[in-house]
């Protein structure tokens, strides 16, 4: 056994993220780590990386006790990490990136020996059969897949310790099919050399084809470790979604369709294609798919932030908005996916963040009416049960869930016609989640048409009337949620046939 972990506990601020987790990795195996969002996969990876050390853990490397208290410990143990966001320096050459942080071969003790550097980099790439990458070209000109392969090549040359374990977190999320295949070949090569690969992915087909064994986490606990050959697709899905959550989402009466707030007919735009659906007033339409299957692109499109389209699109009784500013003006509201990057002015007050899109309506002749702004913010803060000290405090000081409530307050201040929600409960604790659900339901009851993109399947089924399914940007299904369970939805998302990630 290469790495053996027992009794791993990790909690954040009293909330347990991992409880009594066990993980065994053998040399020369690809081990899949699966679980829904929030199941604890990322936390486990951060523990392995030494970024956030465990509260309690018995870890053994080759049978000898192992302490993972810092990233340096992880590096010394031979652990290497490949994330979606790669640390590369785009303005330097591939060869320089591969040898980044190490001393470069030199001539006469000073000048960089470029020829030797390029040859060494070429050798490193060649070990993976990556002869199509020129070590002299700028790393920034490589595609996402080649960047990842370059990183892998650099991990094999860098560091004093031989790499023993590669941890790959959703490595194929942004790769094309051909790039993925090339990565898989490299992974198999690494396995043949005796390394262990811990492979995290939502793509079931990929995982089933690649992994030898699988560990499934649910709610911070290990629920399954088994050989892939003994575990079917259905077994993995059952292990992932096991909890009975439908009680938390009481079924709503189907809304009376008084009108349509959004209609798309065979719309294509960017990577989106084949979009045809109608969203009625008071309806909640879920948008499902694997990570990054085009959910955000669809919402941005309806916000007027998606560029040119083909096909016919109608939003709030008019053509597709040309800009977010026009969209908000027509009663389209938006809760973005990344609240800190796309949603909030962290240094500004709760009031300033809440009223921003509505300043025009809340002012007279361009002059702001601060009393009214504060009153409106207070009304929403109470409705959403926002935990705060004062409405003038910067949103930076709020917890994640409460920050999300501010973004939602902004979107709901003016009872929008169409509300676009992109992962509205991502990284939000259970209590705040319930408040957000209540707000979403009450808006729908008032006639707002809601498009809800979420990778939390129980949430999606619990809230939505119908669910639109996207795969690689293409609409592949539109189903009623009546009678649908997470297992059924997940198999719709993955597609019935194997190898659906074309």
């Amino acid at each position: 056994m290469l790495l053996s972990i027992r009794g791993l506990d990790k909690s954040f601020g009293g909330t347990p993220a991992l409880s009594d987790v066990a993980l065994d990795l053998r040399a020369g195996e690809v081990h899949a780590l699966m679980g829904e969002n929030g199941a604890g996969k990322s936390t486990l990876i951060r523990v392995l990386a030494g970024v956030s050390p465990a509260d309690r853990m018995d870890a053994r490397l080759d049978g000898a006790p192992l302490v993972l208290g810092s990233p340096a410990d992880a590096a010394r143990a031979g652990f290497r990490f490949v994330h979606q966001e790669l640390n590369i320096v785009p303005t330097l050459s591939v060869a320089e990136n591969i040898f980044l942080g190490r001393s470069l071969p030199r001539r006469l003790g000073a000048a960089v020996d470029w020829r030797r550097l390029n040859r060494m980099a070429g050798d490193a790439l060649g070990r993976f059969g990556l002869s199509h990458i020129d070590p002299r070209q700028k790393a920034g000109r490589l595609g996402t897949g080649d960047r990842m392969l370059m990183r892998l090549a650099s991990m094999l040359v860098s560091g004093d310790t031989e790499p023993r374990l590669f941890v790959m977190d959703e490595p194929t999320a942004a790769l094309t099919h051909a790039e993925s295949e090339r990565l898989f070949a490299v992974i198999r090569d690494l396995r043949a050399r005796g390394a262990a690969i811990l492979y995290v992915s939502h793509r079931l087909d990929e995982v089933m084809a690649l992994a030898d064994r699988v560990t499934v986490l649910r709610d911070g606990r290990r629920v399954l470790t088994a050989a892939m050959a003994e575990t079917g697709r259905a077994g993995i899905i059952r292990a992932m979604t096991g909890r009975d959550v439908t009680e938390a989402h009481p079924r709503r009466a189907a809304p009376a369709r008084a009108g349509t707030v959004c209609r798309l007919e065979d719309v294509s735009a960017g990577r989106l294609s084949g979009l045809s659906f109608e969203l009625g007033t008071g309806e909640i339409l879920g948008v499902a798919g694997l990570e990054n299957a085009g959910q955000s692109d669809l919402l941005h499109l309806l916000l007027g932030d998606g560029g040119r389209i083909s096909g016919r699109a109608e939003v709030a009784d008019a053509a597709l908005p040309r800009s977010p500013s026009q969209a908000w003006g027509r009663g389209v509201a938006f809760v973005p996916r990344e609240r800190r990057r796309e949603g909030l002015m962290l240094g500004r007050s709760i009031v300033a963040n809440t009223v921003l899109p509505h300043l025009g309506r809340l002012s007279v002749l361009g002059l702001a009416r601060k009393r009214l702004e504060t009153d409106e913010s207070r009304r929403l803060a109470q409705a959403l049960r926002l935990r705060h000290r004062t409405l003038a405090q910067p949103v930076r000081e709020l917890s994640g869930g409460n920050q999300q409530k501010v973004v939602l307050a902004r979107a709901t201040l003016d009872a929008p016609k169409l509300l676009l929600l992109d992962e509205p409960t991502r990284g939000v604790d259970v209590g705040a989640r319930e408040d957000i659900y209540a707000t979403i339901r009450s808006l729908a009851a008032q006639g707002t048409g809601i498009l809800l993109a979420s990778t939390d399947l129980p949430e999606l089924i619990g809230l939505s009337d119908r669910i639109l399914i996207l795969r690689d940007g293409r609409q592949v299904g539109l189903v009623a949620t009546q009678g649908l369970d997470p297992e059924g939805l997940l198999s719709l998302i993955y597609g019935e046939a194997r190898g659906a990630h074309e």
Binding site: S325, W328, M345, A352, P357, L359, G360, G366, A368
Partner: protein, 314 residues
């Protein structure tokens, strides 16, 4: 702790005032000297207030000094060519508005970094000022009597006269203060400064606002240039050049005193006054002008550094 940080600069300012008052008991804290300071600083104040508008968005305008010079020589050249006073003034102000808008389009439409874009236009405006004036100072009979008289005039209050230039700077302060603190326009600028992408996705027309804010700043620079020309009853192609660095310094000094370190109109006023008082006091103490320059720079750094130290700990 936060309050200590915010008021550190003001306390330092108070100590400097006290030191000057003690060192110069007869000449420093007199009404006439304070009025003189207000007049000396009025051009810088107008440019700094205008700079606050773009800095609220997190942007910069390095071209304000060159624009002030250009607006001055444009107006003076038209006077020299026989155009009327209003025509010259309008042309000067129009130059500022258009030049500022040009900056805004470079930044907002083409996406050029404000630092680079306005560094380019700084050079362009400066070259244009030399071309318009032929590199000469325009003065004497070419300048209408009423133009120079404006800066010498003022509003008599009691036994003193409040200079027109000071009053004009006060008006600029009022306009910028209302614009930034009390209009939707200003709130949106701060939203852009807080998080541009979030502001855009929340329906703020970022491009239009950025372009227009640069236009406002250009106009402010032109006003300052005309004030300068009026004060010396002449115009030359470099007379506004020194304004830019001091204006940015004033806004930064102000930011050390504002909540969340944002550029605010009244905080900029405090920054401007601090620079003016330092200059006036050190001059009266007959401190060597090179040393004076060195000291002013060091004090600006000290103020900004003290506010950063507070931030990183808090």
């Amino acid at each position: 702790m936060i309050h200590l940080r915010r008021y550190a600069t003001l306390v330092g300012f108070g100590l400097i005032l006290l030191a000057f008052a003690l060192a110069l008991p007869d000449t420093f804290l007199t009404a006439q000297n304070l009025i003189n300071i207000s007049q000396q600083v009025s051009m810088l104040a107008v440019v700094a207030f205008a700079m606050t508008v773009v800095m609220a968005m997190g942007d910069f305008d390095l071209s304000v000094g060159a624009m002030a010079s250009l607006a001055g020589v444009v107006a003076a050249s038209l006077f020299a060519a026989g155009f009327s006073l209003p025509a010259g003034l309008l042309a000067g102000l129009g130059t500022g508005l258009l030049g500022g808008l040009f900056n805004g389009l470079l930044v907002a439409r083409l996406g050029i970094l404000p630092f680079v874009a306005t560094l380019g236009t700084l050079t362009m405006f400066s070259g244009a000022a030399f071309m318009v004036s032929d590199g000469r100072t325009i003065f004497g009979d070419d300048i209408p009597e009423a133009f120079g008289a404006f800066a010498r005039g003022g509003l008599p209050v009691g036994g003193l006269v409040l200079p027109s230039l000071s009053l004009l700077a006060l008006a600029a302060l009022l306009i910028v203060w209302v614009l930034l603190e009390h209009t939707s326009y200003g709130r949106r600028l701060y939203a852009i400064g807080g998080n541009m992408e979030a502001a855009r996705l929340a329906g703020v027309p970022v491009r239009r606002l950025r372009a227009s804010a640069f236009a406002v700043t250009g106009l402010g620079a032109a006003v300052a240039g005309l004030m300068y020309a009026s004060r010396v009853a002449s115009a030359n192609p470099t007379q506004g050049d020194g304004l830019m660095l001091n204006a940015i310094a004033a806004v930064f000094l102000g930011m050390t005193m504002s909540e969340e370190s944002e550029p605010r109109a009244l905080a900029t006023l405090a920054g401007v006054l601090m620079l003016a008082v330092l200059d006036n006091g050190l001059t009266q103490l007959a401190v060597d002008s090179y040393l004076r320059q060195f000291l002013v720079g060091a004090i600006i750094l000290a103020a900004v550094a003290s506010s950063r130290i507070g931030l990183s700990k808090g």
